[in-house]
Symmetry: none
Subunit: 188 residues, 4 copies
DNA sequence: TATGAATGAGGGTTCATTCAT
DNA sequence: CATGAATGAACCCTCATTCAT
């Protein structure tokens, strides 16, 4: 019989429920109901609520990293920031629930999965930093000067994209992706 | 005897506790203990936990708006983005607990105080947008073209500042404010 | 208003419920219902189920020790074993629920309250040992030879009393206390 | 291939796990893991957890009864109490896990296997009573007077042995079996 | 103005049991 | 003969809230 993947069912339900009420406000009861499985099954597949959401965050950032990597392939340096920004916005738009979760949790340092999330966060910031460096060099600057662009700039870039994206999707959904992209990239 | 302001005592305790464990994880018990008052006093001074945190968020954004306003006074258009960015970073640095709370809550749409917070968020974004517009005009562009800079750009600007600031304070506290500012402003 | 002592209410209910189903089988729900208080009140008055039963056991052994002490006052050495045995049987009979609990738990070494219970167990065994020593000396033996009677003999004495008492009360309630006492004291 | 007896494997694991955490605290999961079989196998071999522990208790008391019977063979009346006491202590010492279980469960009247256990308990008490009666008669008393030694005395004797044995093994393991025996038999 | 004992709904988690394989 | 994914009732515990003082 074509067995469904129970783990994936649960992870998806966890994202959906937590997007509405936050992780603390997402009850295992409601997650189970949303997933269409018994509550006990959550604990058969994940050791705890913490472990479940660690997996949720891991998969979320992984998807984002993959989207960025895939976008950069074969793109010349000067176009890198726009193309990765577009890919990031696209990924966030397609997973807005996950985006809200990530925005809310990314700077919590008290979570059981803080370490996991930190690595994921850092890997996204590094990818964005690299895109910025590529453009910097393509604009005629030296490799050395590019090294002054650090992960902090990557974090700022990600913050700008996340801030714009959520403002867009939650409050101004009529805008086009291209327009949002322009506002992020050209104004300062 | 110099009477302390019980309300302020409680708000401060609420910020401190919630910064550690998030708002959901902040128990009224712990807030009362931290504030040094009995639990009943919380309910004497605030109608509910929601009302307490609505006040917390309101005061937080108010402080931020005031900091930005005060920074812009008498600053010519071209310098506006940098000066408001510096003021924002400074304000976030001085209230890092509040900054973490605001980052975690700003895109939650299910909170009882969502409306309050939305206005506050919007007012900050608008102030940042205006600084960007001033610089745009000061750079020789028309007022009309400046109107294409919307609140979404303000949200992106705020997201960049918040992302950089938390990355800085949580993971790279050795950097200087000026350095962080440069990374935010010059890289794209 | 003549406030009832909630703590005592809860302890009594805990003893009653645990006597029926053992400590593990005694649910906090049922204890609360039996005590006529809300479940939350259990946790307002005791930190945990473990803490509650630590208190239960402490009070139980304390009562037993007090009964033994009170019985020995002014009794000459040769009569000591019988009088303390009678007092012990009496105390167990009057608190048969507690007696069953103590019998079931006294040799568990994994409980959170094992230490507490151990001290209490030891203090009872010591009292019984002293009664045996007194009789030994009163029978004309030297103090030195009496020291060969150790706490282990006290434990054996207590085991004999508990074994006889529970056999009596659970399976042969028609016997008199004096008869049971005779069977314990004269048969070997 | 030398097939192992799965039932025995499970019973042994059940004893080991329950000795640590009590019967209520022994989970079928942990028993299965300890036995090295899948959880489903427990239910293939035993109808329920209750049935499994009924079997555990039955085998435990059976072993004890057999040890006592074997000890009394060919021993004259006056030596009977000491020899059966020694056999009992020896059996308990060799199965201390089982001894702790039996001590904790022997007076529980709510278990599904209470009936089973009661018979077993009674059969041990009867055997001990008979040893006491034999010695009584061998000491020159009439058969009739010996009949005043009832099962209650047997229960007391067993209680004394169990109490001394557990005190010995758990808290004073340096003592010799002979020493413990002396303390039980000669002090009152 | 302030207190803290009491509440009860709802939280995360465990676990004996079932059943399709 | 054996397995292990799945279940759901029941567990211990937390906590926002109330109210008599």
């Amino acid at each position: 019989m074509a067995r469904v993947n129970t783990k994936q069912l649960i992870v998806d339900a966890a994202v959906a429920v937590a997007a509405q009420h936050g992780i603390s406000g997402a009850s295992m009861d409601q997650i189970a109901e949303t997933a269409g499985v018994a509550k006990g099954s959550l604990y058969y597949n994940f050791a705890s609520k913490d472990a479940l959401f660690a997996e949720v965050m891991r998969r979320g950032f992984e998807r984002l990293s993959a989207a960025i990597d895939s976008a950069r392939e074969g793109v010349p340096g000067e176009g890198a920031p726009r193309i990765v920004a577009a890919a990031t916005l696209e990924a966030l738009r397609n997973n807005i629930d996950l985006a809200k979760l990530m925005a809310a949790e990314v700077f919590r340092t008290d979570r059981a999965w803080a370490e996991t999330m930190n690595e994921a966060r850092s890997s996204v910031a590094t990818r964005l930093r690299d895109a910025l460096r590529d453009a910097h060099v393509a604009a005629g600057n030296s490799e050395q000067s590019a090294e002054r662009i650090t992960e902090t700039a990557g974090a700022a870039f990600f913050g700008a994209l996340a801030g714009a994206c959520l403002d867009w999707l939650l409050f101004r959904p009529e805008l086009s992706l291209e327009h949002v992209l322009d506002e992020v990239l050209t104004t300062w």
